[in-house]
Subunit: 211 residues, 2 copies
DNA sequence: CAAAAATTTGACCGAATGGACAAACGTTAG
DNA sequence: CTAACGTTTGTCCATTCGGTCAAATTTTTG
């Protein structure tokens, strides 16, 4: 006998599906127009429902955005978490770069949503940056430092090295228009990610070979 | 006798000053909130004047933004224009990186304004990207290719190399919050630019040494 | 100084936006 | 079948926003 107490309502099948649909639509809209630039009507239309219907599933615009952002961070931190102490350091770094570049290619909207938030001064996620993110980066910086002490990697600042990897890879999602415009119609096609991968792997691996 | 013909009104001293004041305020507001996120009232207040007064100097919000952006591109292209064929290639690249990093430090608002525009798909400046910018980058890519042919620089894709320099340097303006959060109160101070410069110069110079 | 030109602002307007609400419509368990 | 619950939408509202206008004030010029 399951007694339905007053407090925590259960989530319906439809609710789960529709919330997912809304978040997908919201990602599309928020990532291209930013938080203020996006309108609830736009999101509702992209999700194929009326605005009041959307507001039945989320408390409001902010609620949608918050939900999206907190999910995003999980996805975003995943590749760095995989950076492991086992295996050849330079190989490990190379595959990290490759993973990040693949994410920029396959999930550009997530990258842009994140970038938008950063540009605005991260009003909604500063705590997470100073907490989870900082902890993880500090931890991985320590791993890299170990590699340097062992003479496997050239000595340099591990934190700024991580920044450099983030910057160069996310650039292909965040500045996609610019990349395409500069490369032109010929070289700006799908091949650009392969070219970028080659260049970046060479740069980082050669640049970090111990000497 | 100067006959005042009907067409091109002259620009007053006050007009020049006030327009400058407005653009300065607009840069502040647009760069942190994006185009849609910024309001004319905000800009007017930041410029210390009433909204109608501001609209006396500019046709409207879009006009202010357009003026700002076209000025910006000039400033933005300047360092790359200086990348010259004379002198040692690696030294030349090193000082380009240093200049770009100094710009990220001294003009972060300009960088963010630009990034905002890119994230939104560059609706207002795509022509300039495909024109001026592409031409300049193609030209400099050719210079770098020359260095590679001469065996002065390791062979790699010059366009993506330029992207990598842009990405890593502008990162310190665009993702400033993140950088500070991760570095923490101790290492996130003014010294971060020096640390970044050291890391980046090492990375690019060692990564591009011919082998 | 006074007329003309330039500058400034309070008040106002229409459109867009985030959100509330009650009524209508579907679905499902007993 | 029907009552209860879940879902959907048309309509409405308060606020915000970009922009206008005429009147008031200040600056420039002859």
């Amino acid at each position: 006998m399951t007694v339905q107490t007053a407090a925590p309502r259960r989530r319906t099948r439809i609710q789960i599906e529709k919330r997912e649909l809304i978040l997908e639509a919201a990602l599309e809209v928020f990532s291209t127009h930013g938080y203020r630039g996006a309108t609830v009507d736009q999101i509702a239309e992209a999700a194929g429902m009326s605005k009041p219907n959307l507001l039945y599933y989320f408390k409001g615009k902010e609620d949608i955005h918050t939900t999206l952002i907190s999910r995003l961070l999980e996805t975003w931190l995943a590749p760095l978490k995989e950076l492991d102490d086992i295996g050849d350091p330079l190989t490990e770094l190379r595959s990290y770069i490759r993973r990040k570049l693949e994410m920029a290619r396959d999930y550009p909207r997530e990258s842009r949503l994140f970038a938008n938030e950063m540009l605005q001064g991260a009003p909604r996620i500063t705590p997470m940056l100073e907490g989870e993110l900082k902890t993880l980066v500090d931890e991985k910086a320590e791993v890299i430092k170990g590699w340097m002490r062992a003479g496997k990697v050239a000595r340099t600042d591990p934190w700024h090295l991580i920044f450099a990897i983030w910057a160069t890879t996310q650039h292909y999602a965040d500045f996609d228009v610019q990349v395409r415009a500069v490369l032109g119609p010929d070289r700006g096609g799908d091949g650009r990610f392969e070219d970028a991968a080659r260049m970046l792997e060479q740069l980082f691996v050669d640049g970090l070979k111990p000497r």
